[in-house]
């Protein structure tokens, strides 16, 4: 039984990413002696929050349709609108309301993506590249967004903490913000929908083979449109979490975040060609890249070499999982041949 499950594990990309993570963690621990300390682990969790939320957008888009690169700008624009409206209203109530405003605008922007992609059958990469430029123009041109302080409801939420640890040895503290709960809720919802509902299975079916999905009775257009609307909403949540965690709204810090998130998702085993990808893989890929970018100073890599390191990890990680899945496919073919 145990041998069987190990065999199954070996076929999963996630398993290899997991191995890389363990190896890296041990390496960092040996080099710096600081990896397995309570404050470092909490810091790592904190750093993962926003990229993991964005990773959901990337995953849903890849699995169902193709790349979506618009989430950072949707996040920027929708969280700007929500923050601005809450500030102007002098809103002091529960922060949920601010999130709802943000999600409303985010879903509106996502709907624009979805509409163009579904109606005109344009490639999602081009459409989302285009819309991100538009959103960026609206944000910095039309609204002239600038750095701003958060309204009271958001600031209060940002100051609360879920968990505070103090490292007994070094006396250094670390706090896990409340936004971590949002991350957990999002992943639980995504897990339930993707695995236990028809719509969720439809998302995978659609990316695997569109025509078969349609013949199987899935409403392909509605599901695809829905994915982009949902993506807009998730991006808005990510953007608000980012603002809450930095305690300020920073309009120019969103753009450019998509590449590392997409790299993380691909690392986690999501196929760029659709139909394949797991939440587990998403989290592991994000964890790996966050670990790398947050530990280079700990292990003493010189500033100018840090980007080389990150690039190398992306390539090595993707290569290992690609080779592994290819060898899996070859074995399958062999078995088929033998059977024939």
């Amino acid at each position: 039984m145990s041998r069987l499950s190990l065999k199954k594990l070996k076929k999963q990309t996630e398993f290899y990413v997991f191995l890389i993570i363990i190896a890296l963690a041990v390496f960092i621990q040996i080099r710096s002696g600081l990896f397995f300390t309570n404050n470092n682990l909490v810091d790592l969790l904190r750093s993962m929050i926003v990229p993991s939320i964005y990773a959901l957008c990337a995953l849903l888009a890849f699995v169902s349709t193709g790349p979506d690169v618009s989430f950072p700008l949707i996040a920027a624009l929708s969280s700007y609108l929500a923050t601005d409206i809450a500030t102007k209203m002098n809103y002091k109530g529960p922060v949920v309301f601010v999130f709802l405003i943000g999600m409303f605008f985010g879903m509106l922007m996502g709907a624009l993506n979805g509409f163009i992609i579904v109606k005109y059958k344009f490639p999602s990469l081009i459409v989302t590249l285009g819309t991100s430029t538009i959103f960026s123009g609206i944000l910095l041109g039309a609204f002239e967004a600038e750095r701003m302080d958060l309204p009271e409801s958001m600031a209060r939420f940002g100051k609360q903490s879920l968990l505070t640890v103090v490292n007994a040895k070094s006396g250094l503290g670390s706090t896990l913000p409340m936004t971590f709960i949002i991350l957990i809720i999002l992943y639980v919802i995504a897990y339930l929908i993707l695995n236990f509902t028809m719509v969720g299975r439809g998302v995978y079916a659609l990316g695997g083979d569109e025509i078969s999905a349609e013949r199987a009775g899935f409403n392909v257009k509605a599901i695809r449109f829905g994915v982009f609307v949902v993506n807009g909403g998730i991006a808005a949540i990510g953007g608000l979490c980012y603002s809450i965690m930095s305690m300020r709204y920073l309009p120019t810090e969103f753009a450019g975040g998509e590449m590392i998130v997409i790299a993380a998702v691909i690392l986690g085993g999501t196929r760029m060609t659709g139909g394949v990808g797991t939440l587990k893989g998403c989290l592991l890929g994000t964890l790996l890249l966050t670990m790398v970018s947050n530990s280079l100073i700990l292990i003493g890599v010189a500033v100018s070499w840090q980007k080389v390191f990150i690039g190398a990890i992306i390539i090595i990680g993707t290569a290992i999982s690609a080779l592994q899945s290819r060898s899996g496919a070859i074995i399958k073919k062999k078995i088929k041949k033998e059977a024939a």
Binding site: L34, N40, L172, S174, T252, T273
Partner: protein
């Protein structure tokens, strides 16, 4: 059909990712080609001020100021000085910034302005190397080019600085040393290792420390800088936390981009190191107020971007008018009444315009 398209999309995406990664390495190429160009063509003429004298009336001039990031308070303050100059001299001035604070977007803004036919470009470069080619083509078209915070920019008629990087870096170190009691370990943060001025400040801080404060020590075996904030408060916070974790015995931190110190201060407060680790840095009073008042940031050293914006426009207008600009020129604004000319990679006009802000005088500066 669908499969094929998906493959193409995948390929396209991969290409974009590759391109964005090699974007940095491209800089050196453009630098080389621009150098080769200027050597083969009439390079000496390009820097002859006389040929930039404008035939148009002063009221028809357009002076464009290009910033790193127009949304930052720093450059909003600069805009005040730029507009002040425009009103006083009745010259049309515009200030533009890239949509994202990265070198490629800034090149785009500069190229757009060249195409619009402005008479002068005053640029605060994100990465001087990346915009050499654009600035050179502007000068070839007779557009006056003035820069700020880029003492190594080659294709510029004048670079204006509030002070020499050496003096300012030394002043930062003096301020930090005083806070730290002239002993202990410290770290330094810059925005990018490609930000020339930031690196000069960093080098000058270290040089000053080695010369005057032997009991102080830069962490990581003296590597300059200790870390990069990438012009992001959140990244500054993450990196500062990492540096402080790796060096639990350090007692000082400096940051030279406006994003650095708020990030460092946030990390220090969260780690529970407030009061133990002193912070001295460059930035704007308003954004630092909370941390200066709480005591986490001890001192802000800076120059007033309002005045440097004014000074840049003033130089550009003088050149357009055919007036003499050089050692001892009066740019008409405090701190730049008699600028010093230093010729290095370019002609650098240097004022004496540094200011120090502490808890006591922070209310006097509103930007």
């Amino acid at each position: 059909m669908m499969k094929k398209m998906k493959k193409m999309v995948a390929l396209l995406l991969a290409t974009i990712m590759c391109l964005s990664m090699v974007a940095c390495s491209n800089e050196s190429d453009t630098k080389d080609t621009s150098k080769a160009d200027s050597e083969s063509s009439t390079s000496s003429d390009l820097f002859d001020l006389a040929q930039y004298k404008s035939d148009k009336d002063k009221s028809e001039w357009t002076i464009a100021v290009v910033t790193k990031d127009n949304t930052a308070n720093w450059f909003k303050r600069m805009e005040i000085g730029v507009n002040e100059f425009g009103e006083e001299q009745s010259i049309k001035v515009i200030q533009k910034g890239p949509a994202n604070a990265d070198a490629a977007s800034q090149v785009q803004v500069i190229d757009d302005l060249i195409n619009q036919g402005v008479d002068a470009l005053c640029v605060v470069p994100i990465d001087p190397g990346a915009i050499e080619a654009s600035l050179e083509s502007a000068m070839k078209q007779g557009i006056v080019v003035v820069t700020h915070e880029a003492s190594n920019q080659k294709n510029t008629l004048f670079d204006v600085e509030a002070f020499t990087s050496e003096d300012f870096g030394a002043a930062l170190m003096d301020a930090l040393a005083k806070e730290m009691g002239e002993k202990g370990k410290y770290g330094m943060m810059v925005a990018y290792t490609t930000s020339t001025t930031h690196m000069e400040y960093a080098e000058a801080q270290k040089a000053r420390q080695e010369e005057a404060y032997p009991d102080m020590e830069l962490v990581n075996g003296g590597a300059v800088p200790t870390c990069e904030s990438e012009e992001s408060i959140d990244t500054a916070y993450e990196r500062a936390k990492e540096v402080l974790k790796a060096n639990p015995d350090m007692t000082g931190f400096t940051g030279v981009a406006s994003t650095d110190c708020p990030g460092i201060a946030k990390a220090i407060e969260e780690l529970g190191l407030g009061g133990k680790v002193k912070v001295v840095g460059v930035g704007t009073p308003n954004e630092f107020k909370e941390y200066v008042n709480s005591g986490t940031i001890s001192k802000i050293k800076l120059w007033d971007p309002k005045d440097s914006g004014y000074a840049m426009c003033s130089i550009a207008a003088k050149i357009l008018a055919g007036e003499e600009v050089g050692d001892g020129s009066d740019l008409g604004v405090a701190g730049y009444e008699s600028v010093k000319l230093i010729e290095g990679d370019n002609r650098c006009l240097i004022g004496e315009a540094d200011i120090e802000i502490t808890k006591d005088n922070i209310e006097d500066f509103d930007f």
